[in-house]
Each structure stands twice: as structure tokens, then as C-alpha cells.
Symmetry: C2
Subunit: 337 residues, 2 copies
């Protein structure tokens, strides 16, 4: 292997390490690290959970012999600040580590330039190896820090002919109980969940994970202040956006809401409808994934998914990243390119 | 293994043999056969293509030693008539074969009671072992003979919000070229293809397999005689149903068309739309599969899949039997339970 192939290979291995962190590291990103000496892996590490040591620290700690002139591969730029743990840059020393290969730089401005700190210590640093894959393991983290808004997932459950509900709004239940359980699981992985006023009025959803995991913070858009406080969706932690906070301009409202959620450190937002709310997010081009459920039913008439108007040559730039079957419903997960 | 487990096991093996016939045996069904002596398979056979020897004949021919008191497993009742080949019942003799185990009886009345013919020769016959699976390898054949109509596949290509075309009827192209190629392959496996008059007027589709395989016979519904002869869909072999043959009652028309196709020995019919035609077939409850393509697009407005009206508790009894991805389109294949 030449040096570039070798770098890609060990970065792939670091990415695999990072994935072991699963969802436990939030709000931190998943990070993996591999230390290599003369072409052999001498140690590995990953960030296990929020508050625990970072991947680089684990890998250095896991070294079972003294080494010099090793190369450290890490999926994300090492941090250079005191947070829950000391800065990683202080633990990486040029006596042991001659070269650091980084998948992606850190978009979080709080990290205070880890790359420069390593270079100041006389360490060779290379950034951007296998970068797309290194970034792809933390889509919510990168979107949050780079776009200054939460990562947005639109979710809907429709019939084969694209209806979310009967004409009078009845939607209980389009999909099977297994599909709905999978939605509860999805909720448990999101920091916040948002619905519009009509959905609360019609369905009064509880918007929780039903005990599967943590519950997202509930966000309700109600620009004309029509909701009383008697709904399951509204509890003491719900953020109820009324005319005090938002206007009658849907586009503006989305910006206001996303900005507030960003300031609350909310990295991921699940938008569960209804049609009006989904349409505002689609029209504003504010979404990163669509989770589409289709039940094997036809309605002929009803509430549509998208209240706007587009032509068949207008692309949404969606790629299918996953499909799952729940009884005879299908869930298709799309990601924006 | 007890006798029943053993019978199921060797019937499964016969079904695997049958599948080797693929689509080459049409209009015959796929049939497989295994001959077993003292718990060991001593020969196998399958129906390879239309006009070639049947599975039982192949299995007997493939025996490489003299046997007595063997059991012959066959997925379908052996034939008892002279067709392209001599009757199978005349080749199965009680000297060699003591017992015949049959997956499913033959719904084709032309076969003239193969079971009784075997019993008359003193052979023990058992019918209905692993019957559902034995039938499932020939859905078109069984539907054709039992329901006296072709097996009906409804196919549509829609946006995520369930539109087949823009409001003015423009549908070129909702789906990707790879999706459309897969439709051409599907056409090559069907005996006939049907569209309504509007689809011909709007799209003038050629309705062929584009050279991938054989072309289905084209069927066009035009009850008000509005189509001139200048369309690609209309050639010398097209069956153009005009007011001479059909009326203004869609339900009656479907019966007339299916009856005519049955008499023409057409075992499978692909219905490619448009919405009016699909709706008539759905309302008449005349379909066995739905092949649904969804492209990652939204229109908001346009031609719908189903022009009727149903409630969310009305089930179509569809099971997902396959999903395929073509670029970022998804094809979902549903079969009726």
C-alpha cells in the first residue's frame, strides 16, 4: 500500500471505532481513533459516551508499550479546550506521535483550533482523509454547527395514493402498530419534535417515545393562538410558539423557530406534520431527511402530503438510504444529497 | 423424520426443481419432481420448456438404476391426456412407483383426472402436500384456470405524494430510466398489456418490451371510439375495444375484456393505467398484484392514482412481496392475500 491508501485504510478503521459510540455520545459527535506504528495498529479507542474520555485519549491510554514516531488517525480534529475532560491536544505528545491524520476538521468553534495546537508541538498534521465518510457518521453534529440549525427530519405516514388522512382529518390509523412503534423509536433519537396546531387539534398526539427511550422536547406552531392548554402535546416543557414569538409568515416562522432551537443546543428536530407544517418546511427547503411510511391502502380523497405545486422536472435531491417493512407498511428513508 | 415431515421435505425439493423452469414453460405451469427410495433421492426432473417432456417423465428417464416400490413427488397432478407429449400417467407404472405424492391438483379441466388414472393402476396417491407453496410457483396458471380470467397486475409510477402526472397530464418522466427499463422487462413476462384511451392520447406509449423479450398483446379500452388509428399503441395485433364490443359501464366492460382474454388463452394481463382505468380495475376488485413505483418528487397537484373514495379502515389485503431500488426510485410489489 502506498501512503495514501494506507491513510484511507486506517481512517476507515477509525470510522468503525467511532461507530461503537452509537447514540450514547450525544451532544458530542462520535469519534474513533487508531494508532499505527510501522504499518501495524498498536492501539485503538473511541468516544464511548458523553462525559467520558475522548477517542484519542482512550487510544493513547490503551497503548500497551512505549512507542515513538507513531501515527495517530482520528476521525475528527482533536479538541483544544477544557470541557468535561482535558484538551486532547495536551495528551498527544510529539515524543510518541510524529504525525496526526484527521478525517474532518471540527466545525464547532468552541474547540479552539486543535490543528494549530498540534502543529505548534512539532507534529505533522494532515486533514481531510476519507473526509466524506468521516463526516457521514455525524450528520446531525455537522449540520448543527455548520448551518447553525438543527438537523431536520420530516416524517409522514400516507396511503399509497399519498393521503395523510381522510378528508375530515381522520388519520387513526393509516399505518400498522409496528410502524408506529418505529416512529416512537425515531422520536427517542431526536432532541425535539414539532407539529402544527391542526395536528394537535385533530389527533392530540402525546409525541413521546412511549417509554422506549428519552422523549424529545415538544414544539408546537400555533401562530394564531388557537390552542388551549388542554392537550396531551402541551405540557410544562412544551415550547408553544404563539403570536408572541412568531408571525403569520411561515417562512419567517421557520427561521425564528430554528434559530431558537439552535440556541437551545437542539441538534435534531423531527417534524411530524401535518400537511401544512410539512409543506412550510419543504417550501423553505429546510429538511435533511424524509422518513416516508406508506400503508397498503387507497383513499381517493383526503389530506395531502404537500400543499404546494411543483413540476416533474423539479428535483428534491433525495437519495434512498434505507427501507424497512413493518407488517405490510414500507418505510423509506431519504437523505438529501 | 416422520412420514409427514419427509413428504414436506421432498415436496420442497420438488418445488425447487420446478423453479428451474423459470418463464420458459409458459403457457404450461412450472412443475418439479423427485423420486425417493428408502429415504434417498434417486432421481429428479423438471419441466424445462413448453413442448419438452414433463417433470415426471424427466425424473423417470433420469433414473440410473432399476427400482421398485419408490415414491414419486410431483408439485402438480400428473396429466392424463395426449398433448404435445404422451400422458404422464401412462409413464408412471406401479412396478416402479408404489406411491405418488402431489402438491396440488390440476385446475385445468383438460388434464382429465390424472389422480384417478394413477389410482386405477393400484398406486397410492396423496394430494395437497405443501400445497400453498406448490401453488405459489404458478400464480398466473392457477388464477387463469380457477378464476377463468388472466392474472392481473396493476402498475403505476407516482410521485411521493401519489400523482401519476402533472395536472395537464404530463408524465414524462416521473421515474428514472432504470425504473422504466424494469417496466419493459415486466412487460416481456406478460401476455397482454392494457391501457385506457386517455393514456394513448396523452403519451402514445409503444407498450412493448423495447426488445428485452417478447412483446405483450396490446389492449386498448376506448368505449366512445375516440381514438384514430395513428397511435404507436395501435398496430395490426392490438385489440381495440370500442363501442362495438364494450359499453359505457366500466364494470361490465372489465368482465367483457377479461372474458375475451380468457378465451384467447391469455394468462397474464398488465394494466398500465391511466388513473381512470386503474380505478375501474380497483373498484371491480379485479387485480392480483400491484407494482408501485415511487420517484423522490412532490407535485402537490396532478392526476391521482385512484379516483374513487375509500376509508382508512378499508383494507386492500395487500402484502409486500418484493422491493427494488432503481436509482432513487423505489418499486414495491404487492400481492393480494
Amino acid at each position: 500500500m502506498n501512503k495514501s491508501d494506507q491513510d484511507n485504510y486506517f481512517m476507515s478503521m477509525s470510522i468503525k471505532e467511532a461507530l461503537k459510540g452509537e447514540d450514547n455520545v450525544f451532544p458530542n459527535p462520535r469519534v474513533g481513533c487508531v494508532i499505527v506504528k510501522d504499518g501495524n495498529v498498536v492501539s485503538t479507542g473511541f468516544h464511548e459516551k458523553f462525559g467520558s474520555p475522548h477517542a484519542e485519549v482512550m487510544a493513547i491510554k490503551n497503548l500497551n508499550r512505549d512507542i515513538v514516531d507513531a501515527t495517530l488517525y482520528v476521525t475528527l480534529e482533536p479538541c483544544n479546550h477544557h470541557g468535561k475532560t482535558p484538551p486532547c491536544t495536551s495528551i498527544i505528545n510529539s515524543g510518541q506521535i510524529k504525525r496526526v491524520v484527521i478525517g474532518s476538521s471540527d466545525p464547532n468553534s468552541d474547540i479552539q483550533n486543535g490543528i494549530a495546537a498540534l502543529q505548534d508541538k512539532g507534529i505533522d498534521v494532515e486533514v481531510g482523509v476519507n473526509e466524506d465518510r468521516a463526516r457521514s457518521i455525524n450528520p446531525r453534529f455537522f449540520t448543527y454547527h455548520e448551518k447553525k440549525r438543527p438537523y431536520i427530519i420530516l416524517k409522514y405516514a400516507a396511503t399509497l395514493d399519498g393521503f395523510l388522512a381522510e378528508p375530515d382529518g381522520k388519520s387513526k390509523w393509516i399505518t400498522s402498530s409496528k410502524s408506529r412503534e418505529s416512529v416512537q423509536l425515531l422520536r427517542s433519537t431526536c432532541d425535539a419534535i414539532l407539529v402544527g396546531r391542526h395536528t394537535v387539534e385533530k389527533d392530540d398526539p402525546n409525541l413521546t417515545s412511549h417509554g422506549i427511550g428519552k422523549d424529545p422536547i415538544k414544539i408546537i406552531l400555533d401562530p394564531s393562538n388557537k390552542l388551549s392548554k388542554e392537550y396531551s402535546a402541551i405540557d410544562e416543557n412544551t415550547i408553544h410558539f404563539t403570536s408572541e414569538l412568531i408571525s403569520n409568515s411561515p417562512k419567517e416562522n421557520i427561521d425564528i423557530v430554528l434559530n431558537k432551537l439552535f440556541k437551545m443546543n437542539i441538534q435534531s428536530l423531527l417534524v411530524e406534520g401535518g400537511a401544512v407544517t410539512l409543506t412550510h418546511f419543504i417550501k423553505s427547503d429546510m429538511f435533511d431527511e424524509i422518513h416516508a411510511y406508506y400503508a397498503p391502502k387507497l383513499l381517493g380523497k383526503g389530506k395531502t402530503i404537500f400543499n404546494g405545486k411543483k413540476g416533474i422536472s423539479e428535483l428534491l435531491n433525495l437519495s434512498i438510504v434505507n427501507t424497512e417493512i413493518f407488517d405490510n407498511d414500507i418505510k423509506i428513508t431519504y437523505k438529501r444529497d
